[in-house]
Symmetry: C2
Subunit: 253 residues, 2 copies
Amino acid sequence: MSNRDIAATLAKGLDVLACFERRGQTLSMPDLVESSGFDRATVRRLCLTLEHCGYIERRGRGFGLAPRVLALAGGYLGHLAVGRRVQPVLRNAAEALDMEVALATRDRMQAIYVDRAAPASARVTLGLSVGSTLPLLHTAVGRMLLARSGPDVLARALDALGDVQHTEASEMAPDALRGKIDEARGQGYCIARNEFEPGAAGIAVPVGALGDAPFVLSTTASVNRFDDAAALDRVLDVLRHASISIGRIGEQP
Amino acid sequence: MSNRDIAATLAKGLDVLACFERRGQTLSMPDLVESSGFDRATVRRLCLTLEHCGYIERRGRGFGLAPRVLALAGGYLGHLAVGRRVQPVLRNAAEALDMEVALATRDRMQAIYVDRAAPASARVTLGLSVGSTLPLLHTAVGRMLLARSGPDVLARALDALGDVQHTEASEMAPDALRGKIDEARGQGYCIARNEFEPGAAGIAVPVGALGDAPFVLSTTASVNRFDDAAALDRVLDVLRHASISIGRIGEQP
DNA sequence: GTGTTTCGTGCGATTATCGCACATAATGCG
DNA sequence: CGCATTATGTGCGATAATCGCACGAAACAC
C-alpha cells in the first residue's frame, strides 16, 4: 500500500474533525488553524464541508460537533449490541456493587468508554459517558487493555510515555509498568491506586476471548476499597460474572 | 458560498463513512461500492484512508466502524456535560417512573438518543443506546423535536414523508401530522400510541429554552399506560421535573 | 475613531484524484 | 478437483480538485 492510496484531502478533513474531540468545545477558525497546522483557506473549506455533511455546526463565530457524530457512535454500539446485551449486565453489576461500572475498549493509544451504568443510589458519579477517555499506562482499565493487546501496542505505549505524571504516585519507570501489565495478564485482573487520580483506585477485568478486540469491565472506588481481601473478592466476583454474561463482543475472527 | 468551498474528496469520504451508520455491520468493498455509488478504486482509497485515520477497521474481508467514532461522540457529549449533568437526572427519573427514560435531539431528519437510563428493576429494556435513531413523524420524541424546531424542518420532514407506514395506526396525512405537532407545541408534551411500534406508547417533553437546539426527554411504555389521567400527570410531572433539573443544554446563542 | 484580528473569496499553478484496464487472488459450485 | 465468477490490488496519465496567496471587507477591542 503506497501513499497514493491515502486520500490526502480526506485525511486532512478528518484531522480537522479530530480537533473537536477534546472536550467538544466550540472552536474558532483561528483555533482550528493553530490546532491543525493547515492554511486558513484550507481549514475554512474543510470546515464548510464538514458542516455541509453534518458533522459540525455553527456556534456563534465558531464551530462545534453536531449530533450526527452520535449516529456514528450508534453504528458502532449497535454492532456490539450494547443496548441489548451490555447495558443490562452493567446495570445489574452496578446495583450489585453499589458502584459505577463501565465497559471500555482501546481506541488507538487510549482507553475509551463504550458504556457505563451507575447504581440508583449513586449521589455522585464520575461524570463520564460513552466516549470518555482514560490513559492506558496509569489506569487499571488501560493496563488491562494493554495486557489484552499485542506486544506492539504495549511497546508503542511505553515509547510514547513522555513525562506526564498524573499524580505523585504515578509509576513512570517503563520496566515497572511492563511488570504491572504482565501481572495483570497473569492474574486476570488489574488494580491501580492513586496513579491517575489521588485517592482513587480502579479495578478492571477482561471481557471476551484472548485475541478478540480488547474489552474490559471496570469500576472505580476510593483508594482503600479493595484492600480487604473479602471486599476484593466480592468485586472481582461480580465483575467476572458480568464478564461471562456479556461473553464475546462483536464479531469473532 | 459556492461549490468550490466544498472539498469534494472529503465529502465523498464522509459519504463512505456514513454507509457504516446503519446497524454498524461489517461491510465488504462491493457493499460499499453499491451503497456509495462511487467507483471501486475510489471507494478502496477512501476506505484505506478512513482506516489509516482510525475511523474504520478491518474485519475479515470487510470493514466496520472503529472505537474512534466513540471519541467523536464523547466530544459532543462532553460539550453537553451529559455525564455530569444529564445522566444523574435521567437515572432518578427512570427510578421514579420505573421506566426507561431518554434524552434525544434531532440529527438532520431523525431523532437521535443522546443518553438514556433504565431503572434497576428493569427486566427488559428497549435495547437502545447513545446514537440510536427514531423517525421524526411517527414517534412522540420526533414530534416533540419537530415542535421545537423551525417550520422549515417540519416542512422538510413532511416533504420527505414517503409511504413507509410503520404500523397500521401510523398517521400518514400531512395535515393531520402537522396538527399533532402543533398540538404538542401548544400543550408542551406529546404522546404517540401504536404509530411506530404496535402496542407501544411514547411520551416526550421538551428540555431547555425555545430557540435552543431541540432536546426532549421521553419514555416509552405499553400502549395504555398513559390513558389514566392520574398516571399521565405523574409521568409528566417527573419528566418536567427532570427537564427543569437539566435546564438549558449546551451553549446558548 | 484607530488598530488589530478575523473572515470571505478570486485566481491560476500545482497537486491530487479518478477511473480504466490489466493481472492476480479468492470464493462458490458442480 | 477444475472452472466460472467475484473480488482485489495497482500502474497510468488526463482531468479535476486543491491550495495558498493577496486583496478587500467585516468584526472586535480599546
